[in-house]
């Protein structure tokens, strides 16, 4: 069954209110709840080391700004926005287009191939599998930035369509359209269409 927003952890409101009142313990609990999600979002924009630094920056920023959070959006959406902005700021600072995370992987396609887990399939199948994952990573790079962003947030960060729409401040219809185009294009690039 597809998880929905109602399946997300409950009780953020209470913890947020306590954190806003200056209770560090409550913020610690919020970090524990959301740090993986924040890292996953950052990882879709940056390499592993940079993603961890950006995730930490995001949570520290959230702490310093928590009194300005008015609870009009869900806490997780607010946090995701900070994470995305932190990553985009970082990318802007580097003054380059695209995702640093994948730059290193794309530059060294063999790196991706070698990292694919060995699941006990026969050697030939494993090689094909590894190559397929490496090609997917490389094809993602060719997607327009918005399509790539939405594709990754949906499939790798595990965000719901509505959450992506809220975080990127776009209509959910736009998210659906971009996601569909991304999948369609990737399949074309991967040679899935005969």
């Amino acid at each position: 069954m597809t998880p929905t927003r109602s399946d997300l952890p409950q009780g953020d409101e209470d913890l947020v209110a306590r954190a806003q009142a200056g209770e560090g313990e409550a913020f610690g609990q919020l970090v524990e709840r959301h740090q993986r999600r924040v890292w996953l979002v950052c990882r879709q924009y940056l390499g592993p080391d940079e993603a961890e630094a950006a995730a930490q920056d995001t949570l520290v920023k959230a702490f310093t700004k928590i009194r300005a959070f008015n609870q009009r959006a869900a806490f997780t959406t607010w946090l995701t926005r900070i994470a995305i902005n932190t990553c985009l700021d970082q990318l802007r600072r580097w003054g380059r287009e695209g995702l640093k995370a994948e730059d290193s992987e794309a530059e060294n396609g063999a790196g991706v191939v070698e990292q694919v887990a060995d699941d006990g399939a026969d050697p030939e199948a494993r090689v094909l599998q590894r190559q397929a994952v490496a090609r997917l990573a490389s094809c993602e790079e060719k997607l327009p930035a918005r399509q790539r962003e939405i594709f990754r947030l949906r499939f790798y960060a595990g965000m719901e369509l509505e959450e992506i729409a809220d975080a990127l401040e776009v209509h959910v219809g736009t998210v659906k359209t971009q996601l569909h185009r991304a999948v369609h294009r990737l399949r074309g690039e991967l040679g899935a269409y005969r």
């Binding site: 592993p48 991304a182 991967l190």
Partner: protein
């Protein structure tokens, strides 16, 4: 029904809403289902690969908490810089109006006793206003002294 076209396959892989007929076909057609499944598995494999980089969450949490600035209780709203002078003016006005009423209604025509009361009340007000130990009245607005003098002069 014919096999799904590329558009419908992309819709199914993306997990978007499918038309009833498409969904039905997907349930019964192994070939189309396999195509959807293969792409989804590929994506899942890549997701696993990305998740391999996950940091040690406890260490990360510890580092974040160390970086947090000192926690302070929310600051109280600063009262207006005009609050104190306005309070002083209001208090004096209240006294003056009160004295006026007392004079008007005094049985002896309001000549002797109210004068004593005025001096006494004004002295009490001055004492309160001069008392910097009262919370919120610690800092003296330099303009206040002149204001008090003005009102005092006006009342005597």
């Amino acid at each position: 029904m014919r096999h799904l076209d590329n558009h419908q396959l992309a819709t199914a892989i993306a997990g978007l809403e499918l038309e009833a007929g498409v969904e039905e076909h997907l349930t019964s057609c192994m070939s189309c289902r396999r195509q959807v499944q293969e792409t989804r598995e590929l994506i899942a494999r890549r997701r696993e690969l990305l998740a391999d980089d996950e940091p040690d969450w406890q260490r990360q949490r510890h580092e974040i908490l160390l970086r947090l600035p000192a926690i302070s209780a929310p600051r109280r709203k600063r009262s207006s810089r005009w609050l104190r002078p306005m309070l002083a003016a209001a208090a004096i006005l209240l006294v003056v109006v009160g004295l006026g009423l007392m004079r008007r209604h005094a049985p002896n025509g309001g000549q002797e006793a109210p004068e004593v009361a005025v001096e006494q009340i004004l002295a009490d007000v001055d004492a309160v206003l001069d008392d910097d130990t009262i919370p919120g009245f610690e800092s003296i607005d330099p303009g206040l002294a002149n204001l008090e003098k003005m009102y005092t002069n006006g009342a005597s």
